[in-house]
Subunit: 324 residues, 2 copies
Protein backbone atom coordinates (compact mmCIF):
# COMPACT_ATOMS: atom_id res chain seq x y z
CA UNK A 1 0.00 0.00 0.00
CA UNK A 2 1.51 3.27 -1.20
CA UNK A 3 0.52 5.19 1.95
CA UNK A 4 2.28 2.76 4.28
CA UNK A 5 5.36 2.62 2.09
CA UNK A 6 5.66 6.42 1.93
CA UNK A 7 5.10 6.88 5.66
CA UNK A 8 7.68 4.23 6.46
CA UNK A 9 10.20 5.87 4.15
CA UNK A 10 9.64 9.23 5.85
CA UNK A 11 9.93 7.69 9.32
CA UNK A 12 13.13 5.89 8.36
CA UNK A 13 14.59 9.01 6.74
CA UNK A 14 13.74 11.22 9.71
CA UNK A 15 14.33 9.02 12.76
CA UNK A 16 14.11 11.90 15.25
CA UNK A 17 10.79 12.99 13.76
CA UNK A 18 9.12 9.56 13.80
CA UNK A 19 7.13 10.23 16.95
CA UNK A 20 5.51 13.31 15.36
CA UNK A 21 4.43 11.53 12.17
CA UNK A 22 0.95 10.00 12.09
CA UNK A 23 -1.34 12.66 13.51
CA UNK A 24 -2.74 15.56 11.48
CA UNK A 25 -1.17 18.06 13.86
CA UNK A 26 2.18 18.19 15.61
CA UNK A 27 2.26 19.10 19.28
CA UNK A 28 5.26 20.80 20.92
CA UNK A 29 4.63 20.50 24.67
CA UNK A 30 7.51 22.82 25.71
CA UNK A 31 5.88 25.69 23.82
CA UNK A 32 2.25 24.55 23.94
CA UNK A 33 2.20 24.74 20.14
CA UNK A 34 -0.13 22.83 17.85
CA UNK A 35 1.12 22.96 14.24
CA UNK A 36 -0.46 21.80 11.01
CA UNK A 37 -0.01 22.37 7.28
CA UNK A 38 -2.23 21.47 4.33
CA UNK A 39 -1.93 22.15 0.62
CA UNK A 40 -4.75 22.54 -1.93
CA UNK A 41 -3.89 22.35 -5.62
CA UNK A 42 -6.11 23.30 -8.57
CA UNK A 43 -7.50 20.26 -10.45
CA UNK A 44 -6.36 17.95 -7.64
CA UNK A 45 -8.27 19.28 -4.63
CA UNK A 46 -10.56 21.80 -6.31
CA UNK A 47 -11.62 23.20 -9.67
CA UNK A 48 -11.98 26.91 -10.38
CA UNK A 49 -15.22 26.03 -12.18
CA UNK A 50 -16.84 24.84 -8.95
CA UNK A 51 -15.45 27.14 -6.22
CA UNK A 52 -15.15 30.93 -6.24
CA UNK A 53 -11.94 32.64 -5.07
CA UNK A 54 -13.79 33.85 -1.95
CA UNK A 55 -14.77 30.34 -0.89
CA UNK A 56 -11.38 28.95 -1.91
CA UNK A 57 -9.84 31.43 0.54
CA UNK A 58 -12.26 30.33 3.26
CA UNK A 59 -11.85 26.61 2.61
CA UNK A 60 -8.04 26.70 2.52
CA UNK A 61 -8.16 28.11 6.06
CA UNK A 62 -11.08 25.93 7.20
CA UNK A 63 -9.33 22.64 6.44
CA UNK A 64 -6.38 23.69 8.60
CA UNK A 65 -8.59 24.97 11.43
CA UNK A 66 -10.34 21.60 11.29
CA UNK A 67 -7.03 19.87 12.08
CA UNK A 68 -6.63 22.16 15.10
CA UNK A 69 -10.25 21.35 16.05
CA UNK A 70 -9.48 17.62 15.92
CA UNK A 71 -6.70 18.26 18.43
CA UNK A 72 -9.15 20.16 20.67
CA UNK A 73 -6.88 23.19 20.29
CA UNK A 74 -7.42 26.91 19.96
CA UNK A 75 -6.25 28.34 16.61
CA UNK A 76 -4.13 31.49 16.80
CA UNK A 77 -1.98 32.23 13.75
CA UNK A 78 -2.02 31.49 10.03
CA UNK A 79 0.64 31.58 7.29
CA UNK A 80 -0.54 31.43 3.66
CA UNK A 81 1.62 30.54 0.70
CA UNK A 82 -0.32 31.34 -2.48
CA UNK A 83 1.04 30.38 -5.90
CA UNK A 84 -0.78 31.17 -9.11
CA UNK A 85 -0.53 31.53 -12.89
CA UNK A 86 0.46 34.85 -14.48
CA UNK A 87 -2.99 35.50 -15.88
CA UNK A 88 -4.67 35.61 -12.47
CA UNK A 89 -6.00 39.10 -11.92
CA UNK A 90 -6.37 41.44 -8.98
CA UNK A 91 -10.00 40.39 -8.51
CA UNK A 92 -8.98 36.85 -7.71
CA UNK A 93 -6.51 37.99 -5.05
CA UNK A 94 -8.99 40.48 -3.60
CA UNK A 95 -11.76 37.88 -3.32
CA UNK A 96 -9.43 35.15 -2.06
CA UNK A 97 -8.13 37.27 0.83
CA UNK A 98 -11.64 38.57 1.56
CA UNK A 99 -12.60 34.94 2.13
CA UNK A 100 -9.49 34.37 4.23
CA UNK A 101 -10.28 37.45 6.31
CA UNK A 102 -13.91 36.47 6.91
CA UNK A 103 -13.12 33.02 8.32
CA UNK A 104 -10.08 34.23 10.29
CA UNK A 105 -12.26 36.84 12.01
CA UNK A 106 -14.89 34.22 12.86
CA UNK A 107 -12.27 32.09 14.58
CA UNK A 108 -10.18 34.94 16.03
CA UNK A 109 -7.15 33.79 14.05
CA UNK A 110 -4.52 36.18 12.70
CA UNK A 111 -2.75 35.91 9.35
CA UNK A 112 0.88 36.74 10.13
CA UNK A 113 2.75 35.80 6.97
CA UNK A 114 3.31 33.63 3.95
CA UNK A 115 4.52 34.15 0.43
CA UNK A 116 3.17 34.80 -3.03
CA UNK A 117 4.71 33.25 -6.12
CA UNK A 118 4.01 32.01 -9.64
CA UNK A 119 2.81 28.54 -10.66
CA UNK A 120 1.00 26.82 -13.51
CA UNK A 121 -1.83 25.77 -11.18
CA UNK A 122 -3.28 27.71 -8.26
CA UNK A 123 -1.63 26.25 -5.16
CA UNK A 124 -2.53 27.22 -1.61
CA UNK A 125 -0.42 25.94 1.26
CA UNK A 126 -1.56 27.03 4.70
CA UNK A 127 0.16 26.54 8.04
CA UNK A 128 -1.94 26.98 11.17
CA UNK A 129 -0.53 27.51 14.65
CA UNK A 130 -2.69 26.76 17.67
CA UNK A 131 -2.44 26.22 21.37
CA UNK A 132 -3.65 23.59 23.81
CA UNK A 133 -4.11 26.32 26.46
CA UNK A 134 -2.97 24.02 29.23
CA UNK A 135 -4.52 20.82 27.86
CA UNK A 136 -2.65 18.08 26.01
CA UNK A 137 -4.20 17.90 22.53
CA UNK A 138 -6.24 14.89 21.41
CA UNK A 139 -4.66 12.29 19.14
CA UNK A 140 -5.71 9.06 17.41
CA UNK A 141 -4.17 6.71 19.91
CA UNK A 142 -6.37 7.17 22.99
CA UNK A 143 -9.54 5.18 22.26
CA UNK A 144 -10.44 2.76 25.07
CA UNK A 145 -12.83 -0.20 25.11
CA UNK A 146 -16.06 0.96 26.74
CA UNK A 147 -15.89 4.44 25.19
CA UNK A 148 -18.70 5.58 22.96
CA UNK A 149 -18.06 6.74 19.39
CA UNK A 150 -19.53 10.15 18.61
CA UNK A 151 -19.76 12.48 15.59
CA UNK A 152 -20.45 16.23 15.57
CA UNK A 153 -22.67 16.54 12.49
CA UNK A 154 -23.98 15.20 9.19
CA UNK A 155 -21.87 12.84 7.13
CA UNK A 156 -22.02 12.71 3.35
CA UNK A 157 -23.28 16.25 2.68
CA UNK A 158 -19.99 17.47 1.21
CA UNK A 159 -19.75 14.40 -1.01
CA UNK A 160 -23.33 14.98 -2.17
CA UNK A 161 -22.41 18.60 -2.97
CA UNK A 162 -19.41 17.48 -5.01
CA UNK A 163 -21.64 14.97 -6.81
CA UNK A 164 -24.05 17.78 -7.80
CA UNK A 165 -21.18 19.99 -8.99
CA UNK A 166 -19.52 17.28 -11.05
CA UNK A 167 -22.62 15.58 -12.47
CA UNK A 168 -24.67 18.74 -13.05
CA UNK A 169 -27.64 16.65 -11.84
CA UNK A 170 -31.02 18.39 -11.86
CA UNK A 171 -31.86 18.91 -8.20
CA UNK A 172 -34.31 21.39 -6.63
CA UNK A 173 -32.47 24.67 -6.13
CA UNK A 174 -32.68 24.87 -2.35
CA UNK A 175 -31.49 21.30 -1.82
CA UNK A 176 -28.72 21.75 -4.31
CA UNK A 177 -27.48 24.95 -2.66
CA UNK A 178 -27.44 23.34 0.78
CA UNK A 179 -25.23 20.43 -0.27
CA UNK A 180 -22.96 22.57 -2.44
CA UNK A 181 -22.44 24.90 0.53
CA UNK A 182 -21.40 21.90 2.64
CA UNK A 183 -18.78 21.15 0.02
CA UNK A 184 -17.37 24.60 -0.68
CA UNK A 185 -17.82 26.21 2.74
CA UNK A 186 -17.11 23.60 5.42
CA UNK A 187 -17.34 24.55 9.09
CA UNK A 188 -14.32 23.67 11.25
CA UNK A 189 -15.65 22.28 14.55
CA UNK A 190 -13.38 24.36 16.79
CA UNK A 191 -15.93 24.86 19.58
CA UNK A 192 -16.96 21.20 19.55
CA UNK A 193 -13.39 19.89 19.53
CA UNK A 194 -12.46 22.10 22.45
CA UNK A 195 -15.52 21.05 24.49
CA UNK A 196 -14.81 17.39 23.79
CA UNK A 197 -11.19 17.75 24.90
CA UNK A 198 -12.19 19.67 28.04
CA UNK A 199 -14.90 17.19 29.01
CA UNK A 200 -13.46 13.83 28.01
CA UNK A 201 -9.85 14.55 29.09
CA UNK A 202 -8.19 12.08 26.71
CA UNK A 203 -10.49 11.43 23.77
CA UNK A 204 -9.23 9.93 20.53
CA UNK A 205 -10.27 12.45 17.90
CA UNK A 206 -10.01 13.02 14.13
CA UNK A 207 -11.87 15.02 11.54
CA UNK A 208 -13.72 13.37 8.66
CA UNK A 209 -11.72 15.18 5.98
CA UNK A 210 -11.01 11.83 4.33
CA UNK A 211 -14.39 10.32 5.19
CA UNK A 212 -16.11 8.85 8.24
CA UNK A 213 -14.89 5.32 7.44
CA UNK A 214 -11.30 6.50 7.12
CA UNK A 215 -11.41 8.22 10.53
CA UNK A 216 -12.90 5.13 12.23
CA UNK A 217 -10.33 2.91 10.52
CA UNK A 218 -7.40 5.06 11.59
CA UNK A 219 -8.52 5.49 15.20
CA UNK A 220 -8.97 1.69 15.53
CA UNK A 221 -5.55 1.02 14.04
CA UNK A 222 -3.74 3.69 16.07
CA UNK A 223 -5.48 2.83 19.37
CA UNK A 224 -5.49 -0.93 18.78
CA UNK A 225 -9.21 -1.23 19.43
CA UNK A 226 -12.28 -2.41 17.53
CA UNK A 227 -15.61 -0.57 17.10
CA UNK A 228 -19.25 -1.49 16.50
CA UNK A 229 -21.03 1.33 14.68
CA UNK A 230 -24.75 1.38 13.74
CA UNK A 231 -25.23 2.83 10.30
CA UNK A 232 -28.73 3.98 11.30
CA UNK A 233 -27.29 6.09 14.10
CA UNK A 234 -24.98 8.04 11.78
CA UNK A 235 -26.49 11.48 11.20
CA UNK A 236 -27.01 12.48 7.59
CA UNK A 237 -29.30 14.85 5.74
CA UNK A 238 -32.11 12.66 4.38
CA UNK A 239 -32.41 14.96 1.34
CA UNK A 240 -29.33 13.10 0.17
CA UNK A 241 -31.90 10.65 -1.25
CA UNK A 242 -32.92 13.36 -3.72
CA UNK A 243 -29.34 13.52 -5.01
CA UNK A 244 -28.64 9.82 -5.41
CA UNK A 245 -31.50 7.34 -5.53
CA UNK A 246 -29.62 4.10 -5.02
CA UNK A 247 -29.36 3.12 -1.33
CA UNK A 248 -25.81 1.79 -1.76
CA UNK A 249 -24.70 5.11 -3.18
CA UNK A 250 -26.22 6.91 -0.18
CA UNK A 251 -24.26 4.60 2.14
CA UNK A 252 -21.09 5.23 0.16
CA UNK A 253 -21.48 9.00 0.44
CA UNK A 254 -22.14 8.81 4.18
CA UNK A 255 -19.26 6.43 4.94
CA UNK A 256 -16.64 7.35 2.36
CA UNK A 257 -17.65 10.82 1.05
CA UNK A 258 -15.01 12.86 2.83
CA UNK A 259 -14.52 16.63 3.22
CA UNK A 260 -17.34 17.00 5.77
CA UNK A 261 -14.85 18.19 8.40
CA UNK A 262 -17.02 16.87 11.23
CA UNK A 263 -15.23 15.41 14.23
CA UNK A 264 -15.19 11.75 15.26
CA UNK A 265 -14.28 11.13 18.89
CA UNK A 266 -14.24 8.27 21.35
CA UNK A 267 -15.23 9.39 24.85
CA UNK A 268 -16.54 7.88 28.11
CA UNK A 269 -20.34 7.46 28.28
CA UNK A 270 -20.49 10.00 31.13
CA UNK A 271 -18.73 12.66 29.08
CA UNK A 272 -21.19 11.97 26.27
CA UNK A 273 -24.18 12.54 28.58
CA UNK A 274 -22.71 15.88 29.62
CA UNK A 275 -21.57 17.00 26.15
CA UNK A 276 -24.90 16.36 24.42
CA UNK A 277 -26.44 19.11 26.58
CA UNK A 278 -23.89 21.62 25.28
CA UNK A 279 -23.11 20.86 21.64
CA UNK A 280 -24.54 18.82 18.79
CA UNK A 281 -23.00 15.41 19.21
CA UNK A 282 -24.41 12.02 18.23
CA UNK A 283 -23.49 8.59 19.55
CA UNK A 284 -23.01 6.17 16.66
CA UNK A 285 -21.28 3.18 18.24
CA UNK A 286 -19.04 1.75 20.94
CA UNK A 287 -15.37 0.88 21.31
CA UNK A 288 -14.42 -2.77 21.99
CA UNK A 289 -11.17 -4.62 22.59
CA UNK A 290 -9.32 -5.33 19.34
CA UNK A 291 -8.61 -9.03 19.92
CA UNK A 292 -6.08 -8.99 17.07
CA UNK A 293 -8.55 -7.33 14.71
CA UNK A 294 -8.26 -3.56 15.20
CA UNK A 295 -11.12 -2.70 12.82
CA UNK A 296 -14.45 -0.87 12.98
CA UNK A 297 -17.59 -2.76 11.92
CA UNK A 298 -20.62 -1.00 10.44
CA UNK A 299 -23.92 -2.74 11.20
CA UNK A 300 -26.90 -2.21 8.90
CA UNK A 301 -30.55 -2.89 9.77
CA UNK A 302 -30.52 -5.59 7.09
CA UNK A 303 -28.16 -7.39 9.49
CA UNK A 304 -25.50 -6.92 6.87
CA UNK A 305 -22.19 -5.98 8.43
CA UNK A 306 -19.06 -4.52 6.85
CA UNK A 307 -15.57 -4.43 8.23
CA UNK A 308 -13.59 -1.25 7.59
CA UNK A 309 -10.22 -2.69 6.60
CA UNK A 310 -7.55 -1.80 4.09
CA UNK A 311 -9.33 -3.66 1.35
CA UNK A 312 -12.65 -1.82 1.67
CA UNK A 313 -10.95 1.54 2.05
CA UNK A 314 -9.25 0.95 -1.29
CA UNK A 315 -5.61 0.49 -1.97
CA UNK A 316 -4.72 4.05 -0.95
CA UNK A 317 -7.07 5.54 1.61
CA UNK A 318 -6.83 8.76 3.46
CA UNK A 319 -4.06 11.22 3.08
CA UNK A 320 -2.80 9.63 -0.07
CA UNK A 321 -5.98 9.12 -2.02
CA UNK A 322 -5.01 11.92 -4.38
CA UNK A 323 -2.22 9.79 -5.77
CA UNK A 324 -4.68 7.36 -7.30
CA UNK B 1 4.08 47.60 -10.25
CA UNK B 2 2.46 44.22 -9.72
CA UNK B 3 4.24 43.62 -6.39
CA UNK B 4 2.97 46.84 -4.84
CA UNK B 5 -0.55 46.28 -6.13
CA UNK B 6 -0.70 42.75 -4.74
CA UNK B 7 0.75 43.72 -1.36
CA UNK B 8 -1.69 46.61 -1.06
CA UNK B 9 -4.60 44.33 -1.89
CA UNK B 10 -3.49 41.88 0.78
CA UNK B 11 -3.02 44.64 3.36
CA UNK B 12 -6.46 46.09 2.58
CA UNK B 13 -8.09 42.66 2.68
CA UNK B 14 -6.47 41.74 5.98
CA UNK B 15 -6.40 44.97 7.99
CA UNK B 16 -5.48 43.27 11.27
CA UNK B 17 -2.54 41.54 9.58
CA UNK B 18 -1.09 44.63 7.90
CA UNK B 19 1.65 45.13 10.48
CA UNK B 20 2.97 41.60 9.88
CA UNK B 21 3.18 41.95 6.09
CA UNK B 22 6.45 43.17 4.58
CA UNK B 23 9.13 41.13 6.34
CA UNK B 24 10.14 37.63 5.34
CA UNK B 25 9.32 36.33 8.79
CA UNK B 26 6.49 37.06 11.20
CA UNK B 27 7.31 37.64 14.85
CA UNK B 28 4.88 36.87 17.66
CA UNK B 29 6.38 38.55 20.74
CA UNK B 30 3.96 36.97 23.26
CA UNK B 31 5.21 33.51 22.29
CA UNK B 32 8.70 34.43 21.09
CA UNK B 33 7.87 32.78 17.79
CA UNK B 34 9.48 33.53 14.44
CA UNK B 35 7.42 32.07 11.58
CA UNK B 36 8.13 31.82 7.87
CA UNK B 37 6.84 29.87 4.88
CA UNK B 38 8.24 29.43 1.37
CA UNK B 39 7.11 27.40 -1.59
CA UNK B 40 9.25 25.91 -4.38
CA UNK B 41 7.52 24.71 -7.55
CA UNK B 42 9.02 22.59 -10.33
CA UNK B 43 9.76 24.58 -13.50
CA UNK B 44 9.22 27.87 -11.64
CA UNK B 45 11.88 27.71 -8.91
CA UNK B 46 13.81 24.61 -9.96
CA UNK B 47 14.10 21.97 -12.67
CA UNK B 48 14.44 18.26 -11.95
CA UNK B 49 17.13 18.22 -14.66
CA UNK B 50 19.40 20.49 -12.63
CA UNK B 51 18.82 19.50 -8.99
CA UNK B 52 18.72 16.02 -7.46
CA UNK B 53 15.96 15.04 -5.00
CA UNK B 54 18.55 15.06 -2.17
CA UNK B 55 19.59 18.65 -2.82
CA UNK B 56 15.99 19.69 -3.46
CA UNK B 57 15.21 18.44 0.04
CA UNK B 58 18.15 20.39 1.46
CA UNK B 59 17.42 23.58 -0.47
CA UNK B 60 13.70 23.64 0.40
CA UNK B 61 14.73 23.71 4.07
CA UNK B 62 17.74 26.03 3.55
CA UNK B 63 15.68 28.85 2.02
CA UNK B 64 13.39 28.86 5.05
CA UNK B 65 16.27 28.67 7.53
CA UNK B 66 17.77 31.64 5.69
CA UNK B 67 14.65 33.69 6.51
CA UNK B 68 15.10 32.78 10.19
CA UNK B 69 18.79 33.71 9.86
CA UNK B 70 17.83 37.14 8.47
CA UNK B 71 15.77 37.66 11.62
CA UNK B 72 18.77 36.65 13.76
CA UNK B 73 16.63 33.84 15.14
CA UNK B 74 17.28 30.25 16.16
CA UNK B 75 15.40 27.69 14.02
CA UNK B 76 13.57 24.97 15.92
CA UNK B 77 10.77 23.20 13.99
CA UNK B 78 9.88 22.44 10.39
CA UNK B 79 6.66 21.43 8.62
CA UNK B 80 6.94 20.09 5.04
CA UNK B 81 4.09 19.87 2.58
CA UNK B 82 5.26 17.82 -0.41
CA UNK B 83 3.08 17.45 -3.49
CA UNK B 84 4.11 15.39 -6.49
CA UNK B 85 2.99 13.60 -9.65
CA UNK B 86 1.81 9.97 -9.53
CA UNK B 87 4.84 8.65 -11.38
CA UNK B 88 7.31 9.81 -8.69
CA UNK B 89 8.90 6.73 -7.17
CA UNK B 90 10.06 5.70 -3.73
CA UNK B 91 13.64 6.67 -4.59
CA UNK B 92 12.67 10.30 -5.00
CA UNK B 93 10.96 10.39 -1.60
CA UNK B 94 13.84 8.55 0.06
CA UNK B 95 16.46 10.91 -1.35
CA UNK B 96 14.37 14.02 -0.74
CA UNK B 97 13.90 13.25 2.97
CA UNK B 98 17.54 12.17 3.28
CA UNK B 99 18.44 15.69 2.16
CA UNK B 100 15.90 17.18 4.56
CA UNK B 101 17.30 15.11 7.41
CA UNK B 102 20.92 16.07 6.70
CA UNK B 103 20.33 19.82 6.81
CA UNK B 104 17.90 19.62 9.76
CA UNK B 105 20.56 17.79 11.77
CA UNK B 106 23.19 20.39 10.88
CA UNK B 107 20.96 23.16 12.22
CA UNK B 108 19.41 21.18 15.11
CA UNK B 109 15.95 21.64 13.64
CA UNK B 110 13.19 19.04 14.00
CA UNK B 111 10.65 18.08 11.32
CA UNK B 112 7.36 17.79 13.21
CA UNK B 113 4.75 17.51 10.48
CA UNK B 114 3.38 18.38 7.07
CA UNK B 115 1.38 16.59 4.44
CA UNK B 116 1.91 14.58 1.29
CA UNK B 117 -0.39 14.87 -1.70
CA UNK B 118 -0.62 14.63 -5.49
CA UNK B 119 0.12 17.38 -8.02
CA UNK B 120 1.11 17.78 -11.66
CA UNK B 121 4.37 19.50 -10.67
CA UNK B 122 6.57 18.78 -7.66
CA UNK B 123 5.64 21.40 -5.08
CA UNK B 124 7.40 21.83 -1.75
CA UNK B 125 5.98 24.23 0.80
CA UNK B 126 7.95 24.51 4.02
CA UNK B 127 7.06 26.34 7.21
CA UNK B 128 9.87 27.04 9.68
CA UNK B 129 9.35 27.97 13.31
CA UNK B 130 12.12 29.73 15.20
CA UNK B 131 12.74 31.68 18.34
CA UNK B 132 14.37 35.00 19.19
CA UNK B 133 15.58 33.48 22.50
CA UNK B 134 15.01 36.71 24.35
CA UNK B 135 16.03 39.06 21.53
CA UNK B 136 13.63 40.96 19.26
CA UNK B 137 14.30 39.70 15.72
CA UNK B 138 15.85 41.93 13.08
CA UNK B 139 13.65 43.51 10.41
CA UNK B 140 14.10 45.76 7.36
CA UNK B 141 13.07 48.97 9.05
CA UNK B 142 15.96 49.64 11.44
CA UNK B 143 18.77 51.04 9.25
CA UNK B 144 20.19 54.32 10.60
CA UNK B 145 22.36 56.95 8.91
CA UNK B 146 25.95 56.35 10.03
CA UNK B 147 25.57 52.55 10.07
CA UNK B 148 27.83 50.49 7.87
CA UNK B 149 26.43 48.08 5.29
CA UNK B 150 27.83 44.56 5.57
CA UNK B 151 27.47 41.24 3.73
CA UNK B 152 28.30 37.74 5.00
CA UNK B 153 29.74 36.17 1.85
CA UNK B 154 30.17 36.04 -1.92
CA UNK B 155 27.51 37.50 -4.17
CA UNK B 156 26.75 36.15 -7.62
CA UNK B 157 27.99 32.59 -7.15
CA UNK B 158 24.52 31.06 -7.19
CA UNK B 159 23.61 33.01 -10.32
CA UNK B 160 26.83 31.86 -11.96
CA UNK B 161 25.94 28.26 -11.06
CA UNK B 162 22.49 28.63 -12.59
CA UNK B 163 24.10 30.14 -15.70
CA UNK B 164 26.34 27.06 -16.07
CA UNK B 165 23.37 24.70 -15.56
CA UNK B 166 21.16 26.47 -18.08
CA UNK B 167 23.74 27.33 -20.72
CA UNK B 168 25.74 24.09 -20.49
CA UNK B 169 28.81 26.33 -20.93
CA UNK B 170 32.17 24.56 -21.08
CA UNK B 171 33.89 25.47 -17.81
CA UNK B 172 36.78 23.69 -16.03
CA UNK B 173 35.25 20.95 -13.88
CA UNK B 174 36.37 22.24 -10.49
CA UNK B 175 35.15 25.79 -11.12
CA UNK B 176 31.91 24.53 -12.52
CA UNK B 177 31.25 22.29 -9.50
CA UNK B 178 31.94 25.11 -7.07
CA UNK B 179 29.40 27.49 -8.60
CA UNK B 180 26.79 24.78 -9.16
CA UNK B 181 27.12 23.83 -5.49
CA UNK B 182 26.46 27.46 -4.53
CA UNK B 183 23.24 27.26 -6.53
CA UNK B 184 21.89 23.88 -5.48
CA UNK B 185 23.22 23.70 -1.93
CA UNK B 186 23.03 27.19 -0.37
CA UNK B 187 24.19 27.73 3.21
CA UNK B 188 21.72 29.51 5.50
CA UNK B 189 23.72 32.02 7.59
CA UNK B 190 22.16 31.07 10.93
CA UNK B 191 25.32 31.58 13.00
CA UNK B 192 26.14 34.89 11.31
CA UNK B 193 22.59 36.25 11.62
CA UNK B 194 22.50 35.40 15.30
CA UNK B 195 25.89 37.01 16.00
CA UNK B 196 24.87 40.15 14.12
CA UNK B 197 21.63 40.42 16.11
CA UNK B 198 23.44 39.82 19.41
CA UNK B 199 26.18 42.35 18.67
CA UNK B 200 24.38 45.13 16.81
CA UNK B 201 21.17 45.04 18.93
CA UNK B 202 18.87 46.48 16.23
CA UNK B 203 20.37 45.83 12.81
CA UNK B 204 18.31 46.01 9.65
CA UNK B 205 18.80 42.62 8.04
CA UNK B 206 17.68 40.64 4.97
CA UNK B 207 18.96 37.70 2.99
CA UNK B 208 20.00 38.01 -0.65
CA UNK B 209 17.51 35.40 -1.86
CA UNK B 210 16.26 37.88 -4.48
CA UNK B 211 19.67 39.43 -5.09
CA UNK B 212 21.97 41.89 -3.36
CA UNK B 213 20.43 44.88 -5.17
CA UNK B 214 16.93 43.84 -4.12
CA UNK B 215 17.94 43.59 -0.45
CA UNK B 216 19.63 47.01 -0.50
CA UNK B 217 16.62 48.53 -2.28
CA UNK B 218 14.13 47.11 0.22
CA UNK B 219 16.10 48.08 3.33
CA UNK B 220 16.43 51.66 2.04
CA UNK B 221 12.72 51.87 1.26
CA UNK B 222 11.58 50.27 4.55
CA UNK B 223 14.02 52.27 6.72
CA UNK B 224 13.70 55.51 4.74
CA UNK B 225 17.46 55.85 4.31
CA UNK B 226 19.92 56.05 1.43
CA UNK B 227 23.13 54.03 0.97
CA UNK B 228 26.47 54.47 -0.77
CA UNK B 229 27.91 51.07 -1.72
CA UNK B 230 31.28 50.49 -3.42
CA UNK B 231 31.02 47.79 -6.04
CA UNK B 232 34.71 46.97 -5.54
CA UNK B 233 34.09 46.18 -1.87
CA UNK B 234 31.39 43.58 -2.63
CA UNK B 235 32.90 40.13 -2.18
CA UNK B 236 32.58 37.77 -5.13
CA UNK B 237 34.49 34.77 -6.39
CA UNK B 238 36.78 36.11 -9.14
CA UNK B 239 36.47 32.80 -11.01
CA UNK B 240 33.10 34.21 -12.03
CA UNK B 241 35.14 35.79 -14.86
CA UNK B 242 35.68 32.28 -16.24
CA UNK B 243 31.92 31.80 -16.48
CA UNK B 244 30.95 35.08 -18.10
CA UNK B 245 33.57 37.18 -19.86
CA UNK B 246 31.69 40.45 -20.20
CA UNK B 247 32.27 42.80 -17.24
CA UNK B 248 28.66 44.02 -17.31
CA UNK B 249 27.42 40.47 -17.02
CA UNK B 250 29.68 39.92 -14.00
CA UNK B 251 28.23 43.02 -12.39
CA UNK B 252 24.71 41.84 -13.15
CA UNK B 253 25.35 38.46 -11.54
CA UNK B 254 26.87 40.07 -8.43
CA UNK B 255 24.13 42.67 -7.98
CA UNK B 256 21.02 40.95 -9.30
CA UNK B 257 21.87 37.22 -9.38
CA UNK B 258 19.85 36.15 -6.37
CA UNK B 259 19.64 32.86 -4.45
CA UNK B 260 22.98 33.38 -2.70
CA UNK B 261 21.26 33.42 0.71
CA UNK B 262 23.97 35.64 2.19
CA UNK B 263 22.89 38.24 4.74
CA UNK B 264 22.91 42.00 4.23
CA UNK B 265 22.86 44.03 7.44
CA UNK B 266 23.26 47.62 8.54
CA UNK B 267 25.11 47.90 11.86
CA UNK B 268 27.08 50.48 13.86
CA UNK B 269 30.80 50.76 12.94
CA UNK B 270 31.74 49.53 16.44
CA UNK B 271 29.68 46.38 16.06
CA UNK B 272 31.38 45.78 12.69
CA UNK B 273 34.85 46.02 14.26
CA UNK B 274 33.83 43.42 16.84
CA UNK B 275 31.96 41.10 14.46
CA UNK B 276 34.74 40.86 11.88
CA UNK B 277 36.89 39.09 14.49
CA UNK B 278 34.24 36.40 14.94
CA UNK B 279 32.57 35.72 11.58
CA UNK B 280 33.17 36.41 7.92
CA UNK B 281 31.60 39.79 7.33
CA UNK B 282 32.56 42.47 4.80
CA UNK B 283 31.81 46.18 4.85
CA UNK B 284 30.52 47.29 1.45
CA UNK B 285 29.09 50.75 2.12
CA UNK B 286 27.49 53.20 4.48
CA UNK B 287 23.97 54.34 5.35
CA UNK B 288 23.03 58.02 4.77
CA UNK B 289 19.92 60.08 5.35
CA UNK B 290 17.32 59.58 2.62
CA UNK B 291 16.59 63.24 1.86
CA UNK B 292 13.47 62.23 -0.07
CA UNK B 293 15.39 59.66 -2.10
CA UNK B 294 15.42 56.39 -0.14
CA UNK B 295 17.65 54.54 -2.58
CA UNK B 296 21.00 52.76 -2.54
CA UNK B 297 23.69 53.93 -4.95
CA UNK B 298 26.36 51.59 -6.31
CA UNK B 299 29.67 53.31 -7.10
CA UNK B 300 32.03 51.79 -9.63
CA UNK B 301 35.76 52.57 -9.97
CA UNK B 302 34.95 53.99 -13.41
CA UNK B 303 33.15 56.73 -11.43
CA UNK B 304 29.95 55.38 -12.95
CA UNK B 305 27.15 55.29 -10.39
CA UNK B 306 23.84 53.49 -10.51
CA UNK B 307 20.79 54.13 -8.41
CA UNK B 308 18.86 51.04 -7.28
CA UNK B 309 15.29 52.15 -7.91
CA UNK B 310 12.14 50.48 -9.18
CA UNK B 311 13.14 51.04 -12.76
CA UNK B 312 16.50 49.31 -12.54
CA UNK B 313 15.11 46.47 -10.48
CA UNK B 314 12.65 45.77 -13.29
CA UNK B 315 8.91 46.05 -13.23
CA UNK B 316 8.52 43.23 -10.72
CA UNK B 317 11.50 42.75 -8.49
CA UNK B 318 11.92 40.56 -5.51
CA UNK B 319 9.30 38.25 -4.19
CA UNK B 320 7.22 38.59 -7.29
CA UNK B 321 9.80 38.16 -10.01
CA UNK B 322 8.45 34.71 -10.76
CA UNK B 323 5.31 36.26 -12.19
CA UNK B 324 7.23 37.73 -15.09
Amino acid sequence: MKEDIFINIIKESLPESAKYIGDDTAYIPEKDLILTQDTMIEDVHFRTSTITPYFLGRKSIAINLSDIAAAGGVPEYILISLSMPKNIGEDFIKEFYKGVNSICKEYKTLVVGGDLTGAEKITVSVCAVGSGKGLTPANRRSANPGDVVVVTGNCGSSGAGLHILESKAKIPDETSTKFIQSHINPVPRIKEGRKILQTAITPAMMDTSDGLADALYKICLSSNVSMEVDFDEIPYDSDINLIVQNENTVQNLVLFGGEDYELIATIPEKAYEKLKQEIFIKKIGIVKPAENEPFAYINFKTRQKIRLDEEILGSSPGLFKHFE
